[in-house]
Each structure stands twice: as structure tokens, then as C-alpha cells.
């Protein structure tokens, strides 16, 4: 069949009664694939304060602050408004303190709401 006048029409009519390809997004959510780079999650207990992640972060979204003077204890502040979800910190961390979750709806009304603290 080599229809030369309206070659697209059969395809169009065939799809008239087919299920649309659209995903009704806010009502139906599709699962994200494994290994999706969502938000950065830090296990602050594993942190040794080497600051490699702070130096490597392309968006300067990570702050590591020493909590106590005597012990080696750190808290990590993630500025999620700057984070570009590249997961370089996950790769750089020598103690595997970071991982990425599957969250993809990260919008907020204020950039201050996006600051996350891990202790």
C-alpha cells in the first residue's frame, strides 16, 4: 500500500480509538528507573570531614560544618536550590556517606524551604 495523497491518514485513524500515549502526570505518576538521580541524601554519621564533596560539587551546594570541637562529628547542609543532581558527591565520597533517592518533585515556594540539614 503506497498511498500518495494522504499517507498519514491511516495511522491517524488507527489511533483514533487507541489509548492516548499521554501520561496524566499529576494524577498518575510513573515509577522512576533504578539508578535515577533524585535528591542527595547524606548519612552524616559516616562523614569524616574530608571536604572532597565540597570541593567537587559543581554547584557549590554542599556545606559541611563541624558540630563538636572535640569529636569528629559533622553536619551536612544541602542547598537543594543550587543542587544540579549530578551525583558527583556520591562518586567522590571516600566513605560512601551519600546516596541519591528517587524523589523528583522538588519544587518549593521559597528557596529557603529547599535547604536540607543532615546531622
Amino acid at each position: 500500500m503506497n498511498n500518495k495523497i494522504v499517507p498519514f491518514l491511516p495511522e491517524l485513524l488507527r489511533h483514533l480509538f487507541k489509548k492516548p500515549a499521554t501520561v496524566k502526570y499529576p494524577f498518575e505518576k510513573e515509577a522512576v528507573p533504578e539508578g535515577f538521580r533524585g535528591n542527595v541524601v547524606c548519612d552524616a554519621a559516616k562523614c569524616i570531614g574530608c571536604m572532597i564533596c565540597v570541593n567537587d560539587c559543581p554547584a557549590e551546594a554542599i556545606d559541611i560544618i563541624r558540630v563538636s570541637e572535640t569529636e569528629k562529628k559533622f553536619k551536612m547542609i544541602l542547598h537543594n536550590d543550587r543542587c544540579i543532581h549530578c551525583a558527583q558527591c556520591v562518586d567522590s565520597c571516600p566513605t560512601k556517606a551519600y546516596h541519591m533517592d528517587a524523589e523528583y518533585e522538588t519544587a518549593a515556594f521559597s528557596r529557603h524551604d529547599l535547604k536540607i540539614e543532615y546531622k
Partner: protein
């Protein structure tokens, strides 16, 4: 009667801010000019203040569509500076992502061509099928647009057997659909009528005006960095350089569709011949002083990065020549003596990515030859003064110039 019309910086046909100044005579364009500089981002300057690792993600953000192209171009340049031989498996995966990216970029372009020609159904269908390759990329890299796959010495993620199988399965569907679109594109009379014979660029002009990518290949010049100066593992993959002789927008579409089919074959080859071994090797943080010129065949054409290192962990200079910049002069040539109706098609046919090509040009005072540096507050006062003047003249001004 000749009159001037300015298309853009805001115009439905343009996806980014650029201004096309047209001198029209009825429906025919007598003269064309391009005004750039609406979306300058200062990426090259920013790159000088970041480490090489950080710059991988910065170069990725030069372009949303060819994000892998820019990182690969940057990364292979820096690898050369580091005198580092990347892992073979890593190179294969890097090439695989590059070809997947070419597939998604060309499918995107097909849709855009349909949309610019007013063929909305074609746009919807190609973009629906583009989702297949987007899903693959999402699945193997962790993101749909910014894959963040490259690192010095290889790639950041491995590909397992399950992913391999899924990609091979999807390839069948994509091949079938692409052949179908080739059939539609070549047979739908209204669509062919819009594309054929539009935006002529002869072989000589294409070479003289330094066109790159599908624009050049559609003028019958088989020039492709993947063949001429193979990087990554392109010297091991069998593929053909696709060309067309029609020198028009239809030719550019045909070249892209043919390249899609070549890309499917290459992806299949890459997956079937994926070597075992590590996918990355460890890279040093500091780079010896040197300079390098890295070439890469992006979906839009030849992409060039010039990197100069000074012994620290930051580049001294990064210069990016995006393919769009090389095609601008050819676009002006193509636009002249065309119809207004063809402007969006001709302009879209080079697959413009305006942000990628925006660079700052420092202009000296043409009379005295001296250059000056202005602070932000000075610029602000200048702008305010300018608009005060414009407001005063508004009543007498003849629209739009």
C-alpha cells in the same frame, strides 16, 4: 515596496532569543541579518574559575540537547592533557550514549521541522517515539537530559545485561518507526512541498561559508569528524557518512533520517561488541601546562573545544565553538531570496541552539580605538538614560525602527 520586519527575539518560531532582521518585498526576503547576544551566559569565563571535575558538569549545561557532546568533547581534550588512556569499556559506553543522544536529537529535529511547517501530527508522533530513547537514556544514566555520564578516564556507570537487552528490543521499534517517518516525509505532498527546494545552499557555498554537520552533508560534502578524525571508538565501528545532493531543507531532513538508521546500527554493534573490563580508570586532579584542541561530531555538526591548562586543577582558558555558530553565515545565505513562509523552516534546518553559540565580543571604540570597562551601576544608568530618551521619542517614532 520594501519594508523591514524583525523576527524575534520573541517569536513563536524561535525557541530561543535571537533576532532575524528581514528586508521584505511582499512575501520575498531581499536581505537578512542576524542579531545575537540575547542569551549570553558567560560559561567560558565561569569555566576558568572551576576545577576540571566541576567543569564536566558545567560544559554539560552548555546545551540541553547535545549535553553529552559537550562533555565528551571537553573530557577527551582534558584526557589528552592528562596523558590518560581511558578504559576501553568506558569508551564504548561513551560512544553508545553519544549515538543514543544523536537519535534523540534527530528525532527532536524531525518533530521541530514538522511543527515549523505546521505539520502538528508529525511533531506529536515523532516526539512520542522520541520518548522511547529518552527512557533508555533515563534508565542507563539516571537522567533524561543531563546524563552526567562522562568522567576523566571513562564513564561513571556500567551497563548490565538487562539494560543491553532492553536497548536492543527498543531498537527494533525505533527502526520501524523511523522508516515509517521517512515514508511519510517523502510522500506527504504538503510536507514535501514545503521542504523541497527551500533554503538552497550549493556545495561551493557550503564549503566557503564553513557550514558543518547535516547542513554541510546535505549539500553533498561527506564531511564527518567521526570518519575524518575518529575519536573514542569510531575507528572500530562500521558506519557510512550520509549525504544528500538536493542542497535544500528536504535534503537536510533526509540526511538526518539516514543518520538515525546508521545510529541504530551503530548502537547494535556497540552493544554486541562491548568489551569486558573496567569502565573507568583513575584520573589525576592536576593537569600539566599544555593546550589541546578537541573535535567532536555533535548531532548538529562539528563541535570544538579548546582547552589550555596551567598546571593547576583549573583550566586557564576554555573556548567552545558550538556547531550553530559555524552555520549562521550559511543561514543568512540560505534565507536570501526565499519566502517569509520559509524563514522558520530554513532557520530550524540548521537545528539552531542559540545559547550554545552566544559569546561575548568586546568592542573597542571605532574612532579612538580605546576600550573601557564599565561597572554594573554605570551600565544601569546608561540603560535608564537610553530608555528615557526612547520614551521621549515614542510619539514621533515610526514602528518598529
Amino acid at each position: 515596496m520594501e519594508f523591514k520586519v524583525s523576527l524575534g527575539p520573541q517569536h513563536p518560531a524561535l525557541h530561543e532569543a535571537v533576532s532575524l532582521r528581514m528586508t521584505l518585498e511582499g512575501e520575498i526576503i531581499r536581505d537578512a541579518d542576524l542579531k545575537l547576544g540575547y542569551s549570553h551566559r558567560g560559561i567560558e569565563k565561569l569555566a576558568e574559575e572551576r576545577t576540571f571535575t566541576q567543569n564536566i558538569y558545567l560544559t554539560e549545561r552548555i546545551c540541553g540537547i547535545c549535553s553529552h557532546s559537550h562533555t565528551t568533547c571537553f573530557v577527551q581534550g582534558v584526557e589528552q592533557l592528562m596523558e590518560l588512556i581511558p578504559a576501553r569499556r568506558g569508551l564504548y559506553i561513551r560512544t553508545l550514549i553519544a549515538e543514543l543522544e544523536r537519535v534523540h536529537s534527530h528525532l527532536l529535529w524531525l518533530g521541530v521541522a514538522g511543527q515549523e511547517a505546521g505539520f502538528e501530527s508529525f511533531f506529536m508522533y515523532t516526539w512520542r517515539d522520541r520518548e522511547v530513547v529518552m527512557d533508555i537514556l533515563d534508565w542507563i544514566t539516571g537522567n533524561r537530559v543531563h546524563y552526567a555520564m562522562n568522567t576523566f578516564g571513562g564513564v561513571r556507570r556500567d551497563i548490565d545485561e538487562l539494560q543491553k537487552k532492553k536497548i536492543l528490543d527498543s531498537l527494533d521499534l525505533l527502526t520501524k518507526r523511523t522508516e515509517y517517518y521517512l515514508k511519510i516525509g517523502a510522500n506527504e505532498p504538503t510536507f514535501v512541498g514545503r521542504l523541497a527546494g527551500v533554503g538552497k545552499l550549493s556545495r561551493e557555498d557550503a564549503i566557503a561559508l564553513c557550514a558543518v554537520g547535516p547542513t554541510l552533508r546535505a549539500s553533498g560534502v561527506p564531511m564527518d569528524v567521526r570518519k575524518d578524525d575518529p575519536y573514542a571508538v569510531y575507528n572500530e565501528i562500521p558506519f557510512e557518512v550520509c549525504t544528500a545532493d538536493s542542497c535544500d531543507v528536504l535534503g537536510r531532513a533526509v540526511v538526518r533520517v539516514k543518520e538515525l538508521i546508521q545510529s541504530y546500527k551503530m548502537i547494535e554493534f556497540l552493544l554486541k561488541n562491548l568489551p569486558d573490563g573496567p569502565f573507568k580508570v583513575k584520573a589525576p586532579r592536576k593537569v600539566k601546562p599544555n593546550e589541546v584542541y578537541s573535535r567532536y561530531e555533535a548531532p548538529r555538526g562539528e563541535n570544538v573545544h579548546y582547552i589550555k591548562s596551567n598546571g593547576s586543577d583549573k583550566p586557564e582558558r576554555l573556548k567552545v565553538r558550538a556547531p550553530t555558530l559555524a552555520n549562521y553565515t550559511a543561514t543568512i545565505k540560505m534565507l536570501k531570496n526565499g519566502f517569509i513562509a520559509d524563514i522558520p523552516l530554513i532557520f530550524a534546518a540548521i537545528d539552531p541552539c542559540i545559547c550554545c553559540a552566544e559569546r561575548l565580543v568586546q568592542l573597542d571604540n571605532p574612532r579612538s580605538g580605546e576600550s573601557k570597562v564599565l561597572s554594573f551601576s554605570q551600565l544601569r544608568t546608561m540603560a535608564n538614560d537610553h530608555y528615557k530618551k526612547v520614551n521621549l521619542l515614542k510619539k514621533e517614532a515610526v514602528w518598529p525602527f
